[in-house]
Amino acid sequence: MAISSVSIALTGSGGAGVMTAGQVLLDAAAKAGLYGLMAKSLGPQIRGGESAALLRISNEPVQSSDDTYDLLMAVDWGNIERFAAELPLSKDSVIICDPAQGPVPELMLTANPRVVNVPLKELAASLEGGRVNMVGLGLIAELIGLPESSIVDILAAALKKKGPEALEASKAGLRAGQKAAQSITGIVKLSPPGPSTTERWSINGNEATGLGALKGGVRFVAAYPITPATEILEWLAPQLPKVGGCLIQAEDELASINQIIGGSFGGVPALTATSGPGLALMSEALGLAVASETPLLVCNVMRGGPSTGIPTKSEQVDLNIALYGMHGDAPHIVTAPNSISDCVFTAQWSVYLAEAMQAPVILLSDQAMGQSKAIIDKPADLGFIGERLAAEANVENYQRYAVTASGISPMAVPGTPGGMYTADGLEHSPRGTPSTQASHHQEQLDKRLRKLTDFDYGDHWGDIEGDSETAIITWGSITDPTREAIDRLADEGVSVKLISIRLLAPALPDKFSAALKGVKRAMVVEQNHSRQFHTYLRGVYDLPADTITYHRPGPVAIRPSEIVEAVKAWNKGA
């Protein structure tokens, strides 16, 4: 069933502190026993640029952003034209803004929302050390019915170092906001939280990916910073030394990917994180990992492309390069988490897959997932730990690339007596000796493919939910809005099956056919311009003859209602 929730957008120029306010709001909601999600809309400026904290809070788990914002609080209107499209409103929306910032821009009024003027700046200025964002926070909290105590708790923790005056000033701001809220009526209040049964986490997708990798056994990381992947690295850097690992910052992505090849050759599960431009630079070395059969995990957090594109915004656009970006016949593994919570599992599983199959795994996350923070139930741990088939010491006639039935050959970890071999990116004999011989090439190509296609992936290939003749096939961050769309359609009596593919490559036609069982028609949903996912599916699988797609590029998030509408239009034969 579709959930009831409140959605709030806080916007303002960089210095205005809307991100801080949003974060406090989310944390306070968590404190109050609620669930929530906070996405970020960021501009290119480092400081002083336009930005928006995009929240949704509910007493039930929040899967996705909602269609429109119930409340939009604009601390100012700076550069609003640049991201207005990311702030959908309806006639039921309420804009809260400061008349001192000038009239509400026309393009915010197209949906005919209610406008409420509050002199935010003036209120803040009237207080000692008063800050606009605190006034706004108090106002919002009061409007949606978030208890003051939970906010004060969060602020107290955050401002501990700054001393009691800072907290008092913030409290005064909050109260001024609360007071201002009194005159505003007709705003949906949050339903009170249900009883909490499980431990709740507050985590963003990038942290979740880092955690999953750590749990899977990653102990060596080399990387070069890039938006929006850097937080994975920033989270891992201080954690790794606690578990005997380390992170090094490389001079570039060519170095970082080759460094993790070296670390992994040394027997230590290894990772790098990057985004499109960095992944492109890693293509050659990824091929080396395939040929030399070196396990590794590359977490690619997608952003708008092509080229430098739109670094701070989200799109599912690196599927092509992740699947096909290497020269030669280079079978490898591509995975994609389909929720923030699933980032933990998918990253952990990916380490397991890399190690088990001695192959590179590219995990595709994106800005929308990576930089959004969610209040979630603590994710279950399925216990996947990366472990590779190690060669024993002093095996006679050890062959690193022995042609085995499974395609997986025992790998001697340096230090193993008698296991000495040379890993090679040249085609090679089973022993590893470079070879141009047709039979060696054929058997190594077969083996490198077979080890991936014959592996037992268990039930984790994808999430298949519901049953219907109509299916939506999707992947990654668009899964959650799709789930919500399907829930809403169910409320209206329209049943749709969800197939969200977690293991994008290798292609496993049996799994796909099984997922399609009973399905007569399908809609492929993805967020990019060129239907990368749909084209891929067509290439490697048999889709129902009646298959359509719903896709468009970023940076505007695909909302549940769009998918609902697309399904309805399809049903009507539009």
Binding site: L254, A255, N258, G263, L288, P414, G415
Partner: protein, 276 residues
């Protein structure tokens, strides 16, 4: 295993049974021999040594040794070696390759490896040419060499100065040897491996096929350098260098790069940070 046997390992024990793809007379034969000899001198257990390279005639060298090896892609030997050393500080890591691999496509990693000063020994077989791709100019090629079809009138570019760059970038051990003087080369490899930090061993190693005139190196080299720990002194020596002085130019004392270890924690303890 090697450790337990009473017998000493010989140079031959550090060689594999593969026949090199090199041309008869190539300088690189002497380099693999010197490496094997140095390893025998050091009596390092074979399984505790790894030998990493890129792509080129010279970069084929790891497979001719009997230690762990990684024959990577062109120009990326140093990153692979760095990653290995960071993840496995217990291993002795040698790196080798050519002037093209190390100074052209791999130039950035070279500079940053010198800066980082991880405990690696980097042996560059410099023949001032791309041997493997059949004779193009490399960064160390003389500007007026007209032997390549790609630069038929010469490159007109100042040759790359590996030792100057290494010194500027912060390498803590820098030497030059000639493949035709294997004893000195062996000695430098031993010193380089024993040195704690990044060691560059620049080996003049003739390409008899595309630079047959390099056979004359043997008349040009002169043993000259004694190690100094004074960068200014080392620079002065380089200012006077004719490119054929051999010996250890510089040996500094800065500690090798090692990532910090942390206070141990369990995954559960780490996860606790996310609980609301």
């Amino acid at each position: 295993m090697d450790m337990l046997t009473a017998e000493k390992l010989t140079a031959q024990d550090y060689r594999s049974d593969l026949k090199p793809v090199w041309c008869p007379g190539c300088g690189d034969y002497a380099v693999i021999a010197a490496i094997a000899k140095a390893l025998a001198e050091l009596q390092l257990p074979r399984e505790d040594v790894a030998f990493v390279s890129g792509i080129g005639c010279s970069s084929r060298i790891p497979a001719y040794s009997a230690v762990y090896g990684f024959h990577g892609v062109h120009g990326r030997a140093l990153p692979i070696a760095t990653g290995l050393k960071m993840a496995r500080p217990d291993m002795t890591v040698l790196v080798a390759g050519g002037d093209g691999d190390g100074f052209s496509i791999g130039g950035n990693h070279f500079m940053h490896a010198c800066r980082r000063n991880a405990d690696l020994t980097y042996i560059v077989m410099d023949n001032s040419v791309y041997g493997m791709t059949k004779g193009q100019a490399s960064p160390t090629t003389e500007p007026d060499w007209e032997g390549s079809k790609l630069t038929p009138d010469g490159t007109h570019i100042t040759p790359f100065q590996p030792l100057e760059i290494a010194l500027s970038a912060g390498a803590s051990f820098i030497s030059r040897a000639f493949s035709g003087k294997p004893a000195e080369l062996t000695r430098q490899i031993c010193e380089g491996v024993n040195h704690k930090g990044f060691s560059l061993i620049h080996v003049l190693s003739p390409c008899v096929t595309f630079r047959p005139e390099q056979r004359a190196y043997k008349d040009k080299v002169h043993e000259e350098w004694r190690p100094t720990a004074d960068r200014t002194e080392a620079f002065q020596k380089l200012m006077a260098d004719d490119g054929f002085a051999t010996g250890i130019l510089y040996q500094g004392t800065k500690p090798p790069f090692r990532p910090e270890m942390g206070v141990p924690a369990t995954i559960a303890e780490i996860e606790a940070q996310f609980a609301v």
